[in-house]
Amino acid sequence: MIPELGEFALILALGFSLILAVIPLYGAASLNSLWMEYARPLAKAQFTFMLISFICLGYAFAVDDFSVQYVANHSNSQLPMQFKLSAIWGGHEGSLLLWAFILSGWTLAVSLFSRDLPLDMLARVLGVMGIIATGFISFLLWTSSPFLRYLPRFPADGADLNPLLQDFGLIVHPPMLYMGYVGFSVAFSFAIAALLSGRLDAAWARWSRPWTNIAWAFLGAGITLGSWWAYYELGWGGWWFWDPVENASLMPWLVGTALLHSLAVTEKRGVFKSWTLLLAIFAFSLSLLGTFLVRSGVLTSVHAFASDPERGFFILVLLLLTIGGSLTLYAFKAPSVKSESSFGWLSREMLLLINNVFLVVMAVTVLLGTLYPLLIDALGGGKISVGPPYFNALFVPIMSLLALSMGVSGASRWRQTTVVGMKQQLLMPAIISVVVGVIFPFTYGDGFNFRVFLGITISTWVIATALQEFKGKFRNADSMMTKLGQLSPSYYGMVLAHIGVAVTAIGITLVSVYSEERDMRMALGDKVELAGYQFEFKGAKRVKGANFTADEGTIVVTLDGESVVTLHPQKRHYNVKRSMMTEASIDAGLFRDLYLAMGEPLGDDGAWAVRVHYKPYVRWLWLGGLLMSLGGILTVFDKRYRRKSTNEVAHA
C-alpha cells in the first residue's frame, strides 16, 4: 500500500510540475499576473508530493518491504538502519528519485527566498525549473520507478547493499553531490529567464550569484567527500582515479567555478553577459551529461549503474530538449544582451576572462578524455582507453597557469591597471613563493624535486598574493578592527576559497611525491619500518559485525620507541553478497596519515600480507576542498543579497 502511495504521489508531483512548466511561463509571456502568481503555490505542491514519495520509499526500506523490487535488490534485513535508509540512493532508481526530490527542494527554496524578485522573473525561473522537473519525473515514472513490486511471490530477504557502499560515505556523499549538480539548475533557470525576458542587468547577476555559489559549494563538498571516501574505503590509498563518473562531477565544478567569477564581473561591471549566460547553460548541461554518462551504460566505470539503452535513450532526448533548446534560445536571443562598459587589455576583467578560459579548457580536457573512447568507438575505430597519464599530462600545466594568473588578477584593478602598480604588488609574493618553492624540497625531502618546487611555488604564490591583497585593504583604514568588520562576507569567502585552492594543491603535490608504501608478509611479532615509524604485527583474530565476519589485525605503531597508535585493519567477508572487503585502518593527522590494509592470509602460521602506507599531507587536499566550499557558502551571507532590490531595478 505504502509503495503505491509513493508512486501515486510521484504522479501527482509530475502533474504539478507540468502545470508549473506551462502556466507561469505563459503568464509571463502574456503579462498575466494572476497566472504568474501560480508559480509559488505550484512549487510548494510539487515539493510536498515529492517529499511524500521520498518518505514512502524510505519507509519501504525501513520496514524491509522486499516485495518492492528496488528494496529487495538493495537492502537486507540485517543491514544496519542508517544504511537501510541511505540505500534509498544506493541504486539507479532511488538515486534518481533523490535527484528529482532535491530539484523540487531547490524549486521550493527559490520560491521562498526570492521575495524581492520581480514577479515575471520569478515566474520564468520557476517555470523553467518546472520543465526540468517534468522531464526527470517522467523519466522516473516511465523507465525507472523505484516502487515496482515482485508480486505475487517475493523474496524472503533482500540481496543486500553492495558492501563498498555500506559506509558513512554513502550517507553524505551522494546527497551533497546532487545538491550541487541539481543546484546548477537554478543558475540555468535564471539564465533562461534572462534570455526569455531580454533583461540581464546587475540586479539579475545579483539574484543569480548566491544560488550559483551555494550550488558550487555543495558540488565541491560532494566531490571532496567522494575522494575521501574512495581513499579510505577502497583499501589502497588512492584518492582520484579519473574515472568517467568522477570526471562527470569535476566538469560542472570547473565550469561552475568559471561561472561564479564571470557572474561577479557581470554584476560589478556589466560586461561578459553573453559569456555568463553560456557558462550557466554549460554548468547545468554538464551535470545532465554526467547523469547521462553514468546511467546510460555508454561508458564503463567502477560507479556504473545497471546499463540500459532505453534509459540512455530517454535521457538523451531530455538532453536534446533542455540543452539543445537552451542553446538555440541563446543563439537567437544573446545579441539583445549588451555590455554596459568597456575595459582595457590589462584589467581585472581581462585577467578574469583569461582565468575563465583556463577553467573551461580544463573542463574540455576532461570532457575529451572521458568521451574520446566513445567517439572513437562510434566512428568504428575500435575500443580504446585513455588512462590517468593523459589527464595528468594536461592538467598539471593548465592548473599551474591558472594558479599563476589567479595571483595576478588579485593584484589588478577593474577597467585599467598599470604594469608598475602590479609589479609593486606582485614582486614580494613572487620572491617569497620561489624561495619557499626552492627551499621546501631540501628541508622536507632529500633534495631538489621539480614537481615539489612547482607545486609549492604556485601554492605559496596563491596564498601570498591573496594575503598581499588582503593587506592592501588596510592601507587607508583608520583602525584594523573597523576595517575587518567592514569587509564583506563575500570578500572573506573569496580569500578563504583561494587559500583553499593552494591548500589542495599542496596536498596533491606532497602526497603524490612523498608517499611511501610497502607490502609486507607479517607474522606475529614481525616489525617493519616506514618513514621512521615502526609497525609491529600483534596477530589477527576473527570478529563479527552486523552482517559480516572479519579477520582483524592488530598493529602497534611506535615512533622512536614512543607509542603512537594501535591500528586494527580488517578483511571483511559479507555474508549475503559473498564478497570480500578490505577495511583500512587509518591514523589520520594534519601532516601525515598512516594507512594500513590487510591483504591475504599467507600460510597456516597466522601470517598476513599487510600493506602499509605513509601519506604525507593527504588531509590537505580535502581540507582545501572544504575551505573552497566554506568560502562559497560564506559569500551567500553578504548583506547586499538581502537588500531590497526594487531600487536596483529602477536604476538598471
Binding site: 577502497l234 554549460f282 564503463t300 539543445g324 575500435g382 607490502d519 564478497s579 591475504e600 600480507a609
Partner: protein, 177 residues
C-alpha cells in the same frame, strides 16, 4: 560579434549528441564481434620480467588459458588481484598477464609486492596487441581454448561469481581442474 558565432555551441552540442546516440547502440562491455570464436591475434612482444625474451602466439596455444589484461594505473586491477592469486592457487589453468600500456618498472614492482598469479606476462607497452585484441580498458579477461581461439571475454573485475562461470566454461573446453 557576428551572430552566426552564437550558433557554435549549439552545433557542437548537436554533434556531440549524435555520438552519444551512436554510443547507446554500442555495448561497451561487448566483444567486437570480429573476435568471437576467432583466433587470438598474432604477436611478437617482449616479456615483462625478461625484456630480452620475445613472446609469440606459440607461447599461449596448446592448452586453454586465461589472458588477463592489467596495468598498474588501473584501480580495479588492484581490486581483482587477490582474486587472481586465489584462482592461480586453486585451479590448474594458466593465467597469462597482458600488461597493458604500463611502465615496466612499476609493473615489476607490483608483481613483487602483491604476488604474481601469472604464468608469464606479455609487456604490451604501446598497447598495439591490446588494440588488435579490441581491449577497451583494464581489467579484461579472455578465455582461449587449446587452439588459441577466443571463447569468452569478461570485461571488468573478476569476482568469485564470474570465476565460477568461467570455471564452467573451462570444463566445457575439457581441462581438468
Amino acid at each position: 560579434m557576428p551572430r552566426v558565432l552564437l550558433f557554435i555551441p549549439l552545433v557542437l552540442f548537436i554533434t556531440l549528441s549524435f555520438f552519444l546516440w551512436k554510443g547507446l547502440s554500442i555495448d561497451p562491455r561487448a566483444l567486437p564481434s570480429a573476435l568471437i570464436d576467432k583466433p587470438f591475434p598474432d604477436f611478437k612482444v617482449e616479456a615483462l620480467l625478461q625484456p630480452e625474451r620475445f613472446l609469440t602466439k606459440a607461447d599461449i596455444v596448446g592448452r586453454p588459458v586465461l589472458v588477463n589484461v592489467w596495468a598498474t594505473w588501473c584501480p580495479s586491477c588492484r581490486q581483482e588481484h587477490e582474486q587472481l592469486l586465489r584462482m592461480a592457487q586453486e585451479s590448474k589453468i594458466k593465467i597469462i598477464g597482458l600488461n597493458y600500456k604500463d611502465e615496466r618498472q612499476a609493473a615489476t614492482q607490483w608483481l613483487q609486492q602483491l604476488g604474481n598469479p601469472y604464468a608469464f606476462n606479455i609487456y604490451d607497452e604501446a598497447g598495439m596487441l591490446g588494440l588488435d585484441l579490441g581491449v577497451y580498458g583494464a581489467p579484461e579477461t579472455y578465455l582461449l581454448d587449446a587452439q588459441g581461439v577466443v571463447r569468452h571475454r569478461h570485461i571488468g573485475v573478476i569476482t568469485e561469481q564470474t570465476w565460477l562461470d568461467i570455471q564452467l566454461l573451462i570444463e566445457s573446453l575439457g581441462v581438468n581442474k
